[in-house]
Symmetry: C2
Subunit: 370 residues, 2 copies
C-alpha cells in the first residue's frame, strides 16, 4: 500500500446525486449553488431539498413548517434519560445518546420511515440538547414546544428565551452552509453503517460520533478556543507562529477537498461583519485576531480558513456557548446525513474494504490459559 | 467508477497488525491461529491479547480476572436510563444506547484511557443488556455483580441464573471466533470514527450500530429465523429452493473475504454436535434442517456456511433467545473494535474518501422560500 492511499484519499467510495464540489471550487446541493440557496431559501427549504430530493412547492413548504412545529415536544422517557446525563458531559455525547434513545421509543418501521425520522430528528435534536442544557445546569425542565417554524429560531429561543434578527440570519446562513458536503467523514460513516442495512438511528448516531472529533466537526470549537486564546492581533501572530514552529495543527484551516479556498468561508466572514457592530470592544478584538491569523496562515502555509473558522466567531457573536458549536453542525448536517442514508439504501452494497497485514508472523500458544 | 469498486471491495483502507486471513483461509489473531487459541485459551486471554497486544502472563491474567469482577456493577444513572427503554426495543439498540450513556458517566480521559474503557465495556455490556432484559420484561432489578471471571459465565448466569458446562464451553468458543476479523464493516466504522480523533465511546457506539445490520452481525439472527421456519429437512430443501428461485438472500452463507469456506464454521458446527444430545426432538430436527440447507446451498450456489450459521444454532441450543444473538457478537467483537481504535489512533490519518457525482447539472433557484 502506498502512503498515498492512507486515509482513503482520492478513493471513490461511491456515487452520489446529492452534492458536488466543482473543479472551480463551487459547492452545489443537488445542482443549486450555495450562494443561490442562501439568497433565496430558508434553511428548512434546503433541508427539504436534501431529504426529499427537490425544492418544495410553497404548499409543501407550508406543510413542512407545520410538521416542524409538531415535532418539537420530546417523549417523557427521553426527557428522563436526558435528566440522568451529567452537566459536565460534552453536548455531542448528549446528542449521540439522545438520538440513540429516541430510536428505542420511536423505532424505524414502514409506518415511521426514514424521511419521517429525518424530519423528526431535525427538530428533536435541538429540543433534546437544550432540554438537557437547562436541566443539567439549573434543574429547570423547559418546554421545548416553541411553535417556531425555523430551526435557527427554535434553537435560539430555547437557548436564550429571545431571538435577535441578526443572530437568526447568521444562524440560518450557517445551517445552510453546514448542511451537506458529499463524502465527508461523518456522512461516510453514516453510509457505511447504512450499508449493513442497519436502522436509520444507528447510522445517524454513528455520524454524530464521527462529527465530534476535532479533525472533523469539532474543529469549530477548537478554532474558537484558538481565537479566544489571544487578546490582540499581535499576540495572535506571535502565538500562531510559535504553534507552527512546534508543528501543531491550527484548527479551522485547510480542507481535504478544497486546495485554494473554501467557498463557505467568505460567506461566514460576511456574516461575522454583519454581527461585528453589535459586539463589545473585547469581542471586536477577536475579529482583529482572527483576521491576523487568516493572513499569517496564508503567508506562512498557503492555508485558507475553512467553514469552521468564521462560523466559530459568528456563533460566538450570537452568544452561543462554544460547547454548542459542533452540535449546531449536527443540526445542519442531519439533513445531508439523512439524504445519504436514503441514497445508500436505494442502491446498496455492503462497504467492506480490505487491510494490509503488517503484524506478527505465525506463532504458537505455548501455555494453557484457563 | 467501475462497478467493481462499489462497496470498497479490494480497496486497501489501511494497515493492521491485529488480524489476518491467510491465503489458505486460515484466520489468525496477532499471529496465533484461531484453533490454537481455542485449544489453549479462555476468551478473556484472547481479549487480553487483542486489547493489550500480547497474551498475558499468568499473573497478568489473574489481575485481569480481578478487574473483570470489579467491572460488573452499573452506575445508577445508567440503570435509570435502561429502565426507560421499552421491552419491544431490539437489544442491539439497548447496547448502542447503554454504551453511549456510559460514556457520559465515565468519559474518556488520561485517567480513564482507551484500554480501561475497553475492559470496562467488555464486562458492562452484558451487565447492562441483561439488566434491561429482566427489568423490561418482569420489572425486576437484577444484581449484575456475579463475581464470575469468565464473560460467558457472567452472561449465562445473568440470563438464566445458572450455567451448564456445555453452554459455557460453546459460548467461550463462539466468543473467541467472533472476537476479531480485520476490516469488517463494524470495525471499519469504528476506525473511521476514530480517525476524526473522536472519543472511544463514539467509535464503539457507531460499531454497534453497524453490526446490527442483517448484512453484518444481524445475520446470525436471520439464520436462526431461517432454520426455525422449517420443521423438517425436506421442508427446508423445498423452502430454500423456492427462496433461491425468487433470488432472496440466504443469510449465514458466503463471505466477502472467504471464497471456499469459513474456518470458523466447522468449529461452531462441532460445538453444535456437542450440544445436540441434550436437546429435545423438535430442536434436534433443527440440526437436520440446517445440514440439509448447508448441502443444498453448496450444490446449488457453491456457497458455504459462514460463522453465523452454526453459531445461531449453538446459541439456540444454549437456550439463548434469538434477539440476543447479535448482542453476543458485540460482547466478543468489542475486543477487536477496541484493538483497532487503539491502532488507528497510533498512526492516524482522517478517513475521507471521494465520491463520483451523478446528480443534476447546475440549476438556479427561481422563487423565494421564506
Amino acid at each position: 500500500m502506498s502512503e498515498k492511499t492512507t486515509g482513503l484519499e482520492g478513493i471513490i467510495a461511491g456515487k452520489t446525486a446529492i452534492c458536488a464540489v466543482t473543479t472551480t471550487h463551487e459547492l452545489r446541493y443537488r445542482g443549486y449553488a450555495i450562494d443561490d440557496l442562501i439568497a433565496h431559501c430558508s434553511f428548512e427549504a434546503v433541508a427539504f431539498l436534501l431529504i426529499h430530493g427537490e425544492l418544495p412547492t410553497q404548499a409543501e413548504l407550508a406543510a413542512f413548517y407545520d410538521r416542524i412545529k409538531s415535532y418539537q415536544t420530546l417523549p417523557e422517557p427521553l426527557r428522563l434519560v436526558l435528566e440522568q446525563i451529567p452537566a459536565s458531559t460534552h453536548p455531542m455525547e448528549v446528542l449521540r445518546t439522545g438520538c440513540s434513545m429516541l430510536g428505542t421509543i420511536e423505532p424505524e418501521s414502514s409506518a415511521h420511515n426514514a424521511k419521517m425520522i429525518a424530519e423528526r430528528l431535525l427538530v428533536a435534536l435541538p429540543s433534546l440538547l437544550l432540554y438537557w442544557y437547562h436541566y443539567s445546569r439549573n434543574a429547570v425542565r423547559i418546554n421545548t414546544q416553541t411553535g417556531q417554524q425555523h430551526i435557527a429560531v427554535h434553537f435560539l429561543q430555547l437557548l436564550h428565551g429571545k431571538v435577535s434578527p441578526f443572530a437568526q440570519h447568521a444562524l440560518n446562513t450557517s445551517l445552510i452552509l453546514y448542511a451537506e458536503h458529499e463524502f465527508n467523514v461523518s456522512t461516510f460513516t453514516a453510509r457505511v453503517v447504512a450499508s449493513t442495512l442497519s436502522d436509520f438511528y444507528s447510522a445517524i448516531t454513528a455520524a454524530i460520533g464521527a462529527l465530534r472529533g476535532p479533525l472533523h466537526g469539532g474543529a469549530n470549537e477548537a478554532a474558537m478556543a484558538l481565537i479566544h486564546s489571544f487578546s490582540t492581533p499581535e499576540e495572535a501572530i506571535i502565538g500562531v507562529k510559535k504553534m507552527l514552529a512546534q508543528k501543531q495543527l491550527i484548527m479551522g484551516f485547510g480542507h481535504r477537498v478544497y486546495t485554494e479556498s473554501d467557498p463557505r468561508s467568505a460567506i461566514m466572514k460576511a456574516q461575522v461583519l454583519q454581527l461585528l457592530p453589535h459586539q463589545n470592544d473585547k469581542d471586536k478584538q477577536l475579529f482583529a485576531s482572527a483576521e491576523a491569523i487568516e493572513t499569517l496562515m496564508w503567508q506562512e502555509k498557503r492555508l485558507f480558513p475553512n467553514v469552521d473558522f468564521y462560523s466559530a466567531l459568528a456563533y460566538h457573536y450570537c452568544d452561543i456557548p462554544t460547547s454548542l458549536f459542533t452540535p449546531l453542525f449536527v443540526m445542519a448536517r442531519i439533513t445531508g446525513w439523512s439524504a445519504h442514508v436514503i441514497e445508500q439504501r436505494a442502491n446498496n452494497r455492503i462497504m467492506r474494504p480490505a487491510a494490509e497485514y503488517i503484524g506478527p508472523a505465525a506463532r504458537k500458544v505455548n501455555v494453557k490459559y484457563n
